[in-house]
Assembly symmetry: C2
Homo-oligomer: 330 residues x 2
């Protein structure tokens, strides 16, 4: 198995990516990595690695970098030597089984859509994000790839998420819920009311609407929403955890209490879950936070390995391609 | 000044409401209250109050109660003797200057729309909620009264919120932001892109788009959004604060640390800010959380008093009625 890793991507690139890559290689024998990035910054770090690890690593030169402020689609077209375009193309060319990047989310998504293409039956690929909850992870999608969704898109997100939960979270019959502002089927905006009906009529294990207050209780495995509300919620969640830890850390210091808050809040730590999969394209793309520490990169590699080993893409193609064929029946 | 208070509303009614009412009366001389509720449950508690407070209290009998599960509009029509309908009508009849309830949010809203009516120039009254942030309160609206909003509605929410911030939060030139999924004007869904343009062209102090991660930093005074995303965010926020305090409380107990977390998180405590105003109706309606402790009721009374004293309704009528007249110009 060969995973391509963008080492130009994160805020601490390439140090964070390389530290995470090293841990992943040390922990797992059946893994080779293609490091996609600027040789000038990567080689000094690799020179300190043992030969046993270097034997399992290839360097794919990519001297360019797409910056967060750039328009994703035009940057992807204008920068063929960027690590994101090079990395995605490695998958397209069959040289890598998956691609991981902590660079511009929009550019990773755009490059995946342009070069890998959506799978048959998938109108809009979605970003899935694992939200930590009181009862373990919940996969929320879409986390920001799509706005102005139609009810049918939300149904597809649910199907994509259910396959991810089965293949990567070990949940045989994932509980799928719709993020909404009330429990009753008639609650919410037009999109939610119609999506609720589609989900109820589907063969998914649909457990109904879930309100904002229920998310953290872990009442479902897959939480479906439009990418606008998903993105707002995700970013808010990340910031609240940081804020609370900061506020409390100062107070504990004042009181002379020595407590590792990050350990207490390990359950709420995003880095534990690695990156966010882009679901519904013909390839494995994992998007990491720009602030990813080595642990998050290591875990993203683990997620990519699991996606490849479980044959997630084939499962998505089978189920969503199938349902497209069915819905085209007269 | 006479404020009507629903004492059938909260989960701990009437005890919580009466304890909050008593504190408000003790703290402020120029205040009379009309307690709207079931005499059988209220009178035993009032019998323990001193005469000096009882002189400033009237009891408006309302033996019926609208339950959270009922359809708001039909419940309001079917239950004329409910505390919510009685209380709102007191305002309509000129017997009270404001109404406060911790009962069904939907029913308080429906009764306000039916009996008080929206002010001229207000297409859709909105629920404003004060979100605690690192730099003090931010008023977010709409928090759930409206879904499927049009750009013009978001502009009106901004105007309503700015007047509230001026009159009740003491901010002369409130910074108004649009909740969105990116900073750039072209980011977001169709609603956000168009609302951004309207806000930028308005005479408001519009500071641009705000992402989910910026909310807790307190980067604006008034945060505008569709009621769907506002409601999801609000309920999520409330639940995260509770969850974190619970998680941490257990850990501190284990470590033998004695720390009053609610004191540490006072800045994040909703009860500090009292209730949520329904902005844009011809009257002062304050909606409290069903779990409101006495402190929240006391603070909601304070908010109602401020709204009346500052002549908020006249300001809204002046500014939004004016802008309606302008926009009707040829």
């Amino acid at each position: 198995m060969k995973i391509a890793l963008d080492v130009n991507g994160s805020d601490e690139a390439p140090a964070s990516e390389l530290a995470g890559a090293r841990r992943a290689l040390e922990e797992r024998d059946a893994l080779d990595l293609i490091l996609v990035g600027d040789p000038a910054s990567v080689e000094p770090i690799l020179s300190e690695w043992p030969d046993s690890l270097l034997d399992r690593v290839e360097l794919e030169p990519a001297t360019d970098r797409i910056h967060p402020g750039e328009s994703p689609a035009s940057a992807v077209r204008k920068r063929p030597d960027s690590s994101i375009v090079r990395g995605i193309r490695l998958q397209k060319e069959g040289r890598a089984d998956a691609f991981i990047s902590a660079g511009s989310t929009g550019a990773v998504m755009a490059a995946s859509l342009i070069f890998l293409r959506p799978l048959p039956g998938v109108a809009r690929p979605a970003i899935g994000t694992v939200l930590p909850t009181a009862k373990g992870p919940t996969l929320m999608l879409d986390a920001g790839a799509n706005v102005d969704c139609k009810p049918m898109h939300l149904l597809q997100f649910a199907r994509l998420g259910a396959i991810y939960a089965q293949d990567l979270m070990g949940v045989p019959e994932p509980r799928v819920a719709l993020l909404n502002i009330g429990e009753e089927p008639e609650k919410g905006d037009e999109l939610s009311v119609e999506a609720h009906m589609l989900l109820r009529e589907s063969n998914l294990n649909f457990v109904g609407n879930l309100e904002g207050r229920d998310v953290i209780q872990g009442a479902c495995d897959v939480l479906v929403c439009d990418g606008f509300v998903g993105n707002v919620l995700l970013k808010f969640y990340e910031s609240v955890a940081e804020f609370v830890i900061g506020l409390l850390g100062r107070e504990l210091d004042l009181q002379g209490v020595d407590l590792d808050l990050h350990k207490v809040f390990r359950a709420l730590d995003y880095a534990e879950y690695g990156g966010a999969p882009l679901l519904g394209v013909n390839g494995v793309t994992i998007i990491c936070h720009g602030k990813s520490p080595p642990k998050a990169i290591r875990n993203a590699i683990r997620v990519a390995v699991q996606a490849v080993e479980s044959r997630m893409i084939a499962h998505i193609a089978g189920e969503l391609g199938q349902s497209e064929a069915n819905s085209a029946d007269p």
